[in-house]
């Protein structure tokens, strides 16, 4: 096996020193000369028509420079998510919102915005805007939203269902159930949860006098966001520049496309005020007015033969899409595909969709439907194991997908290390101790559970998907990489340069990267779908190969040998079989500057080329494949039956990530995902009151796990080579969240004998369940 010099090593992250010293640039830190501050007036009602809106008093307030409403801003329908730029034909993107409309559809919906010389003045001006509302009927539950009594939130072919229903047939599911010996069927209820990235939605917009628009913002997808803004404001895309400055304070899917409406509102205000405008959401705005994860209902019907062979599965999802579509068509698609891709089941059927309600729009969040699917499926698999009397681990090993198995996806299952993940994880958690942890009469009950899953390494076939990159050899032989993907913390600003250094043949400190800027990088779909390293990385490898090829061709002329005979290593070029500086007579020599040389540095070569009016510019243009990462999580929990609290003691998380380009970054992605999964299982939830208001709209009420809540997390990497990925790599970003919740709820069952078909398992739910089990009414 080839020894790599740069990849596969946990090098110091290239963003480390900036971030450790507080000097890294974020949108919310930006200040431009003459910059104004934008604030947004939001609807206090869940569904209402705006009868009248009077901004005259607000406009008179000294310091106010612009007031924007539906009357003086773009009437172009759009979608804040990037779906409006990459929906795959024949499906059509759902365009269902304006920047401001005369109907508001959830508490927090945008009514107006003010730009003023200070945040305080802008806030004061909002209070002077007079709005008269006519209240409309409301609905909050996706099943109810589809009934005839429910109000129409948007006109749709099927009542309140955005886009289309996703149906995935595979084999003959009815026949499959008829032939099954054992059938388990269950419905699960899932909560609204929030990405809760640390930097809230933010944008700074500057509109120049010649109509060029520059927007610094927190988007995960600068290039698609440029397309959205160009359409929204009817300007050529060439006049819109979108960039990160260059970092983003987390994403987890919440800004694929626009950062909620921060960019459109900042641009609209900047156009009106003719000054740069900064819009930074407060934490409350971030909660109530930027996409959540889809809540809703997922039901699973699983049929198996007596020996445990899965024979039929019916999966159904009804998701709460909230007031606007965002990713409400794609999310049920991924939910179904991922749910059907883990086990080899010859007869399957999936039926899923979202429904509009008068709640905060639901969009992309880490896992994108997959955590919803796998919580339901993995719970059902454990129920099936119990019914069959088979160990849940053995049942999984018997049924998991293998390389080459037919499945519902249009790409191959090209690699799987899942069996190895399961075996390693089981060893790490001590699976053999399962069921032997409790003494009779114990008040604190311990249990062990597991969950498995897969995911994607990019967005195709759910979205359009392609990547480009430039790798340019500078005149001193150092290397510049330009890629349009952001680094929202996932380490792309380190791992993509690692790929570049490895391919070109230079050390990492010779590589520098420009990222996430539409003006200086070629088009890239962006950072989502666990795709940045896998997909953008493939373009980077392609560009680096192209640059290296040009270098070697140029050098071949000097050495008068075929380029294939030349080696480029550690920034030195020399003929193969001869080490740099070697003085073996008769070997090829190159003549440069009148001197004969056995080797030449990239620095000398690049400058020689420069003197002859040439630069090496590598271009990578690729359409990525897709590939499945795999993961097995094991959790040990302790349920305090007196306090009704669940504590996760240990998690073993083993992931098949393909080649780990930077192992510590891979592990960090997994650890962070695990903790978000613990929150999903036990503490995180946004509920709405009967007037459509979020009950959990701050970190004081929405319970994120803190450093005190972290169990021991044992992370393991399995590196099953993925032929389609750069150096064999696959996606990893979202995976840690996927099978965590079911591992925990299955462990809770193991401890208490109670199935929880609704998460999060809060103290209240545990209290009620324990009472019910003891035969008492609450």
């Amino acid at each position: 096996m080839k020894e790599y010099k740069v990849i596969g090593k946990s090098v110091r992250r290239l963003d480390a020193v900036e971030k450790a010293t507080g000097t890294a640039g974020f949108t919310s830190d930006m200040k431009l000369p003459g910059m104004l501050y934008g604030k947004v007036l939001r609807s206090p009602h869940p569904h209402a028509r705006i009868v009248s809106i009077d901004t005259s008093e607000a406009e008179k307030l000294p310091g106010v420079k612009a007031v924007a409403t539906h009357k003086n801003t773009s009437r172009e329908l759009f979608n804040t998510s990037a779906t409006m730029t990459f929906t795959v034909p024949p499906m059509q993107p759902v365009l269902d919102q304006y920047i401001f409309d005369n109907v508001v559809r959830y508490v927090g919906d945008e009514v107006a915005a003010v730009a003023a010389t200070s945040e305080k003045i802008a806030e004061a001006a909002l209070k002077l805007i007079k709005v008269e509302y006519e209240l409309l009927p409301t609905v909050y539950d996706p099943k109810e939203a589809m009934t005839t009594e429910a109000p129409v939130i948007h006109q749709c072919e099927m009542k309140n269902v955005p886009g289309e229903v996703i149906q995935i047939p595979f084999g003959d599911v009815e026949k499959g159930f008829a032939e099954s010996d054992v059938i388990v069927e269950k419905e699960y209820k899932l909560p609204v949860v929030k990405q809760a990235q640390m930097e809230t939605q933010a944008a700074v917009a500057q509109v120049s006098l010649d109509g060029k628009i520059t927007v610094w913002c927190t988007t995960q997808t600068p290039h698609p966001t440029k397309m959205i803004l160009a359409k929204l404001f009817s300007v050529p895309e060439s006049k819109v520049r979108v960039l990160n400055p260059p970092y983003i304070g987390g994403g987890f899917g919440v800004r694929i496309g626009c950062s909620a409406k921060a960019e459109p509102i900042a641009v609209a205000l900047s156009m009106l005020a003719k000054k740069p405008v900064k819009v930074v959401y407060s934490r409350e705005e971030d909660f109530i007015a930027s996409d959540t994860r889809h809540a809703g209902y997922v039901s699973v019907k699983l049929g198996a033969k007596k020996d445990g062979t899965f024979h039929a599965m019916h999966l159904k999802a009804t998701l709460n899409g909230g007031a606007y579509c965002s990713f409400s068509v794609e999310t049920p698609g991924v939910l179904g595909c991922m749910g059907l891709a883990v086990y080899r089941v010859p007869n399957q059927f999936y039926y899923g969709h979202s429904a509009y309600t008068n709640t905060t729009p639901a969009g992309a969040m880490r896992g994108f439907g997959n955590p919803q699917a796998m919580y339901a499926i993995e719970s059902t698999v454990d129920m099936m194991a119990e019914k069959l009397g088979i160990d849940p681990l053995e049942l999984r090993l018997k049924n998991i997908m293998q390389v080459g198995d037919p499945w519902v996806l249009p790409y191959k299952c090209g690699s799987t290390g899942l069996a190895e993940c399961i075996e390693k994880g089981a060893k790490s958690i001590g699976w053999e101790n399962r069921g032997k942890l409790n003494k009779p009469g114990a008040k604190k009950l311990r249990g062990i559970g597991m969950g498995v899953g897969t995911h994607v390494s990019n967005a195709w076939p759910f979205c359009g998907d392609y990547d480009n990159a430039y790798v340019t050899i500078q005149q001193d032989g150092s290397v510049h990489l330009a890629s349009g993907v952001p680094d929202m913390g996932t380490g792309t600003s380190t791992t993509l340069p690692q790929l570049t250094a490895e391919v070109v043949g230079v050390s990492l400190d010779r590589v520098s990267m420009t990222l996430a800027d539409t003006a200086s990088t070629p088009f890239d779909i962006g950072s989502h779908a666990s795709r940045a390293l896998y997909a953008a990385g493939t373009a980077v490898v392609e560009a680096a190969r192209d640059a290296r090829r040009q270098v070697l061709e140029y050098a071949a002329d000097l050495f008068k040998v075929a380029p294939e005979r030349l080696v480029l290593e550690d920034s030195v070029i020399f003929p193969a079989g001869q080490t740099a500086g070697d003085d073996c007579a008769g070997s090829p020599v190159c003549t440069i500057g009148g001197k004969e040389r056995k080797s030449i540095t990239l620095k000398e070569l690049a400058y020689d080329a420069h003197q002859r009016n040439k630069q090496f510019i590598g271009v990578g243009r690729i359409v990525p494949e897709n590939a499945p990462p795999w993961h097995a999580h094991f959790a040990e929990v302790e349920v305090d039956t007196e306090l009704c609290q669940v504590r996760v003691l240990r998690v073993a998380a083993v992931h098949d990530v393909g080649k780990a380009i930077h192992p510590v970054i891979c592990e960090g992605q997994i650890e962070g995902g695990v903790l978000q999964g613990i929150g999903y299982a036990l503490s995180e939830e946004i509920k709405y009151d009967d007037r459509g208001r979020q009950l959990e709209n701050s970190f004081h009420k929405y319970m994120l796990p803190t450093a005190d809540d972290v169990p021991e997390i044992e992370t393991g990497l399995v590196e099953a080579h993925e032929p389609s990925g750069p150096f064999g790599a696959k996606g990893v970003g979202e995976c840690g969240l996927v099978p965590t919740a079911p591992a925990i709820t299955n462990a809770i069952y193991n401890a208490t004998g109670i199935w929880f078909c609704e998460i999060p398992v809060t103290e209240e739910k545990m209290f009620r369940a324990l009472k019910e089990k003891a035969g008492k009414t609450v």
Partner: protein, 165 residues
């Protein structure tokens, strides 16, 4: 009491002198100016982040006379005559502080938005307690939310820094 001026509308503005990262700054501010905004807007020290402005997230943690505080819950006026240390002031001259060095070495961050507050809280802990246990570290940073890392590498970095104090 700080001396003040009254503007045409009758609003009082107070002259304060606050020590920040070893330098003294005299500014005229409103009584309701938050320390976090004084640092970020008046001094352009944007290393201190605003994550929630309610004292929940800890992104704005700074040291006030060596003790960690949420700068969104402290009035700048109350810092008159006091010494504030922000993320930018942790560094020891040209060299990184040992806590920063260990955060870099352990990749104890991802997006970096909580990192400033996290490093300030960690440094404040080590100033008080140079031999912290795992539990001490977790308790010291329990008021600093991180959504990216699972805190694993952060705790490791702080414990490792303590070893080299």
């Amino acid at each position: 009491m700080s001396s003040f001026v009254v503007d045409k509308k009758g609003i009082k503005r107070y002259a304060v002198t606050i020590g920040v990262n070893g330098s003294e700054y005299t500014k005229v501010i409103k009584a309701n100016t938050l320390l976090v905004n004084f640092l970020r807007e008046d001094l352009d020290l944007t290393g201190t982040k605003r994550g929630c402005e309610l004292g929940d997230c800890g992104c704005c943690t700074v040291m006030m006379d060596g003790k960690p505080v949420n700068s969104c819950l402290v009035l700048a006026m109350d810092c008159d005559g006091h010494e504030i240390t922000t993320a930018e002031g942790i560094q020891d001259g040209e060299d990184l502080d040992i806590v920063q060095e260990k955060f870099v070495e352990h990749a104890a961050f991802q997006c970096g938005f909580c990192t400033s507050g996290m490093i300030v809280s960690s440094r404040a802990l080590l100033n008080e307690n140079p031999n912290p246990t795992d539990h001490d570290v977790r308790e010291a940073i329990a008021g600093n939310l991180c959504r990216c890392t699972g805190y694993v590498n952060i705790v490791a970095a702080v414990l490792d820094a303590a070893k080299e104090l």
